[in-house]
Symmetry: C2
Subunit: 371 residues, 2 copies
């Protein structure tokens, strides 16, 4: 290993997998000596798990590695009764998470469609039945990240080699510097009452008064639980106007692109899509909250230069804004009055030439670049 | 799948992996509806984990899948302080096992030498530090089994295809029938005071008075925690004579074959080996108990027709006997007076033409075949 010099890589470490693990453990999860850690490992993320094990060992933390295989889960879901799924005997699993200081999820499957044939009702029963386990996990310093796999490269329409570089460009940032930059944007968004998005095919005005923005800098120290991150987001109170989302994505296994929403008094009153219109209609019909917005986010990660059909990356892309139909994050609405819904579906727009993002009438981004 | 007829396979199931999973869940671990189960999955055992998930789901049990990668463990052990290993923060892991009804270990790595460069002292500190986790696991209905991998085939010196057949021949037995057969052997061994092993290169007499034999029929219902199993074993009180063990094996990463032991009053007074003499000497020098016998076992699994350098299989081979240096199993010595040691190393002998196994002077096995 000493014969090679990889130190000219953008991340200054000869081994990007190790650098990823150390960023996750130190910057994102803030793991300390004596911490009890659960590491959830997807089928394709074994190499990252090895690096995370080394990183945790050297910090004096004690890990338990839990296996997160989509194929194993699918087999269980197909075989189990819906009644058992709704009321499962999970106290052993809940005990594991409730005694953990941090939970690191290393995603990266071998087939993004591995659970495609699990019926919706089964899926929902499983999610509902595991609410207690999820809550225990969310009370820890939890962080989700992604190890580059061939399946994810395929989903992105990229070669494995190019996708790997893409992931490490997104993950191995100078996070402290980005956190400082985004702090300015957060402060301005907190102070603003009105956000306006103006672009070819978009003129939308959002009321954000009294809401608190999150500086999502890929660390639990910033209320941010994704690596990569790199966005500032808040929960709009209301919205009026029209916006088209040009970034294509897969929602519940269905391809969606060029969705146009018209909003009045915060509610979607009309919608259209270049592809996947039924999927959008079905999301909007979930419940009352699904027709209102739960999030306005502004992407700021310069390492993410293209959409890859993965929301973890796409919504952080520099030069984009995104809105979510459905549930608002509690952190943005301390008084608990945020929009409530069973869904939270992000839709993304690249801000093009001639576009403007305005806070209280002041242009903060022009042509997709912060001013 | 319906187009093919695999029902003429020895196990009468078109899918041996599924049959393996069902044998493990139903016969071995006796899983019932509502059970909380932990499934430990080695790197190479994913396909078996999928089948076990389906089996547990259909029984109404709730599984947690824990990842057991030798490479992950090695990375952790190399990075961690010995002090942290000796006193790790494992209460989250202990809580998981102490609330479990059953623990299923699916072994099957991708490299049997994956931990070869972990120093002995590190290994020992790790084992000692995890005593509490291990005890919690041993209080459940725990079972260890093996999924055939290419690494295990290589260790056995076999093609993958042949090794796969070998494993399923050993695992997919009529266990209830074998349990009934072995019950007779157990009863005779319980009643006997003296066992004599006579063969070319062996004449050993063992005192087994007042010891209780285990009918190891691959089920927790028989105090048996291995799948496959198929042996009857007890804990000898004393032994006198000479015996040579011709089955080659790897002990602590060192190849050992043709070990000869001379015993007087239950203690090894002389030893020799065709290969690996230093390994044998180092075992004997571990502590006082390492020079005495902890086990006499008689193999009875007709599906295991050759040694494969895996103790889980080799010691159950029909037509063999094995003795273990070191620790006795509690189940064989209810009054707790069994041999104590930090080691338990099994050594195996194939009983050849002209050999005899005698209980109180009566021949129970001749030429390696039960009479």
């Amino acid at each position: 290993m000493a014969d090679h010099d990889y130190s000219r890589t953008p991340w200054g470490d000869p081994d990007p997998v190790r650098a990823h693990a150390e960023t996750l453990v130190d910057w994102s999860a803030r793991v300390e000596a004596g911490d009890r850690v659960v590491v959830r490992v997807s089928e394709g993320a074994h190499d990252l798990a090895v690096a995370v094990a080394a990183s945790l060992g050297s910090r004096g933390a004690t890990p338990v590695f839990v296996s997160g295989s989509d194929e194993v889960t699918r087999a269980y879901l197909h075989a189990a009764d819906e009644a058992d799924l709704a009321d499962p005997a999970v106290d052993h699993e809940r005990a594991l998470y409730s005694r953990a200081d941090a939970v690191l999820s290393l995603r990266g499957g071998r087939n993004t469609a591995a659970r495609a044939d699990v019926p919706d009702a089964t899926r929902r029963a499983h999610v509902r039945g595991r609410a207690g386990v999820r809550e225990a996990r969310f009370e820890t310093d939890w962080v989700s990240t992604v190890h580059p796999t061939r399946a994810l490269a395929q989903q992105a329409g990229m070669s494995y080699e190019a996708y790997r570089s893409f992931v490490y460009d997104a993950v191995l940032r100078d996070w402290a510097a980005l956190a400082d930059e985004m702090a300015g944007l957060k402060a301005r968004l907190d102070a603003a009452s009105e956000v306006r998005i103006v672009d070819d095919g978009a003129d939308l005005t959002l009321d954000v008064s009294d809401r608190v923005a999150v500086n999502s800098a890929a660390s639990v120290a910033y209320d941010s639980h994704n690596l990569p991150s790199g966005e500032v987001f808040t929960a709009p109170l209301s919205a009026d106007g029209v916006v088209t989302f040009d970034v294509p994505m897969t929602v519940d296994g269905r391809r969606v692109r060029d969705v146009t929403l018209r909003l009045e008094d915060g509610e979607v009153v009309d919608h259209d899509a270049g592809e996947g219109g039924e999927a959008v209609a079905s999301i909007l019909d979930t419940d009352d909250g699904a027709r209102r917005l739960g999030e306005l986010g502004v992407g700021a990660n310069e390492g993410i230069d293209r959409p890859t059909d993965s929301i973890l990356f796409d919504e952080k892309m520099a030069g984009t804004v995104h809105l979510a139909l459905g549930r608002a994050y509690d952190a943005c609405v301390p008084d608990g009055s945020g929009n409530d819904s069973a869904v939270h579906v992000d839709l993304i727009r690249r801000m093009g030439e001639g576009s403007r993002l305005e806070f209280d009438g002041e242009v903060v981004q022009r042509d997709g670049t912060f001013v």
